[in-house]
């Protein structure tokens, strides 16, 4: 299973619509980094509106991909985290403190634009 990555001007858009298993998550991490490298994208939005579960492993993969993209020079915003997912993550003790987030895709794009000062 591969997660599609769409390019829109200087941005990459990803919407995750499946129950992520470990292998798919790791594959996505690699795919996103190589797409950033190839496309020269400066901003990335990962939309999690349809994601019903984020366990510690998926949280780590997402947190890592934000840090990795940052190293390459692309800003990532996670959007659409569901109330149940937010509550579960805090119960688990996962705070994703250094990860930029926004309510939805629209807010995420606004946040990216601000961060990149376009």
């Amino acid at each position: 299973m591969r997660i599609p990555i769409l390019k829109l001007h200087n941005y990459l858009l990803i919407t995750i619509q499946i129950d992520l298993d470990d292998q798919t998550a790791i594959q996505f991490q690699e795919d996103l980094l190589s797409k950033i490298h190839k496309s020269g994208a400066t901003g990335v939005v990962i939309d999690l509106t349809s994601v019903e579960i984020i366990d510690s492993f998926i949280a780590k993969v997402l947190g890592d991909v934000v840090a990795m993209s940052d190293l390459m020079g692309a800003k990532v915003v996670l959007t659409g985290i569901q109330p149940a997912v937010a509550m579960t993550l805090i119960d688990l003790g996962i705070h994703l403190q250094d990860v930029p987030t926004a309510l939805d895709l629209e807010q995420g794009l606004i946040k990216l634009r601000q961060e990149l000062e376009e």
Binding site: D21, Q23, E52, I53, D55, A84, D91, L92, G93
Partner: protein, 133 residues
């Protein structure tokens, strides 16, 4: 006591299978979406522990029907190396995998009741219950 349904944990994909079945059972019993997510996440952590540390094991579900409350019992069993120091693994932040799992304290917080029995060299059994509010 109700009949059990079990999922064998043998490969990585079984982690997803276990949490999906657990979520379905939770929904049937009448848990709300937040508790469904809590239960599914707890199962995901337990299944990953089995996969990472014991290799194989199983996760079983049982519906609890007390006089005044309903709940879901999750039993995670493996024949792995077992846990020598249970108080240590129940400390927040303790990890042997470099942070691959949030660990058992997280599971305990997600569920209402949590019990762990471990025999070093023989295996581990974790029983956790969530009650419908």
């Amino acid at each position: 006591m109700n009949f059990q349904t079990c999922v064998n944990i043998q490969k990585e994909w079984d982690i997803v299978g276990a949490r999906q079945l657990g979520r379905d059972r939770a929904k049937e019993i009448g848990f709300g979406t937040v508790d469904q997510a809590r239960i599914a996440t707890a199962i995901s952590e337990l299944a990953r522990n089995i996969y990472l540390y014991a290799g194989t094991g199983k996760i079983c579900f049982e519906m609890m029907n007390d006089i005044n409350q309903k709940g879901l019992l999750v039993i995670a069993t493996d024949n792995g190396p077992g846990i020598k120091d249970i108080s240590q693994v129940m400390e927040d932040g303790y990890t042997t995998s470099g942070g691959l799992g949030a660990g058992l304290p997280g599971v305990k917080r997600l569920m209402d009741e949590f019990d762990i029995i471990s025999d070093p060299g023989k295996g581990t059994e974790i029983r956790a219950i969530k009650w419908v509010r």
